[in-house]
Structure formats: structure tokens, C-alpha cells
Subunit: 96 residues, 2 copies
């Protein structure tokens, strides 16, 4: 079991109203050190087997065609995240 | 100039309708290898100076109090991302 992480952010030239709203609220809550905020999306895609190059390529294709809107968003990262090892002693050893 | 990345995901026990919608659409588009999808949020917070431990602590506090809804979401990562070409390429952000 592996997990693929896909990060999608609004393009730099696109107005990001959600990020602007957070940016406006932060100083009122005492967080004045942050000059700019942008809000994007993070997807976790689970696959049964390992995150092979083919799986990552498929995830990137899915990110471009379904997960993001290429007119206003960029796919900034597609990467594998190994599943955290479980405490169950019967699952010791490398994941199949 | 540094950038702090905050990743927020719905808690595992919380239904994620956006992720379910994506999960249902993926096989129809030929991406049958992904068994589960969850959708969360990714924030980029920009600070003028370096991403010190104090900045990361403030970002984590902001993530808990403003960026996420602690009832239904988990802050899964708060980490520094070095600005490209402005940082020593050997500099690595602290592990989350």
C-alpha cells in the first residue's frame, strides 16, 4: 500500500480570494509575520501496490485532467509518500 | 523571504465528499489504480525573513486556530520551503 500526494495551487497570476481572506484575518489574530497567503489543494491517492513510476505518471495525468483546472491552477507536486508503519506486529517487514 | 507550507487533511473518521467524488470519477477516466482519494488543503504562507523556529511555531498556531477546523480536520504538516535560487541549495527545511 502506498500513497501518492498531489499538490495543486492557484497560478501566481490568478487572484486567490480564499488566500486573501486568510491573509486579511491573520493579522487580526496576532499573526502579523505572514505577508502573503495562497490556498491550494492537497490530494492523497491510495494505491494497493508500490508507487511505481507508472503509478506516479498516472497520478500526474489524473492531476492534470481531473484534480486541477489547468486554466487557473498548477500541479506543483506529485510524489509518493510511504504508508506509515503500523503498530500491528503481524505486519512487520516491508510492505508488499 | 521564506515560505511555510501547511497541509491540512480531513480527519480519517470524517466523511470526505470531495474526495469521494474524485474517487468515483477516476475509474471512469481510466485511472482505476487508485483505491481511495481524500482531498485536503495546502496553504503557502510567505514571511519576509527566514523560516525560524518561531515562525514555524506561529504558523502551526495559525494552522490550528484559523486555517483548519479542528473538529473535522488535522494539521498534517507545517514545514519551511526554501525559496528557489534565494537559498543555499544544501539547506533543507526541517522535517515536519
Amino acid at each position: 500500500m502506498a500513497r501518492v500526494i498531489v499538490d495543486i495551487m492557484p497560478k501566481p497570476e490568478i487572484l486567490d480570494p480564499q488566500g486573501k481572506a486568510v491573509q486579511g484575518a491573520l493579522p487580526r489574530l496576532g499573526f502579523g509575520q505572514f505577508q502573503a497567503v495562497r490556498q491550494g489543494k492537497r490530494f492523497e491517492l491510495e494505491v494497493t501496490g508500490p508507487a511505481t513510476a507508472e503509478v506516479l505518471a498516472a497520478a500526474h495525468q489524473a492531476a492534470v485532467t481531473l484534480l486541477s483546472n489547468p486554466v487557473i491552477e498548477d500541479v506543483v507536486s506529485v510524489r509518493a509518500e510511504p504508508e506509515p508503519s503500523l503498530e500491528d506486529p503481524t505486519t512487520q517487514g516491508p510492505a508488499a
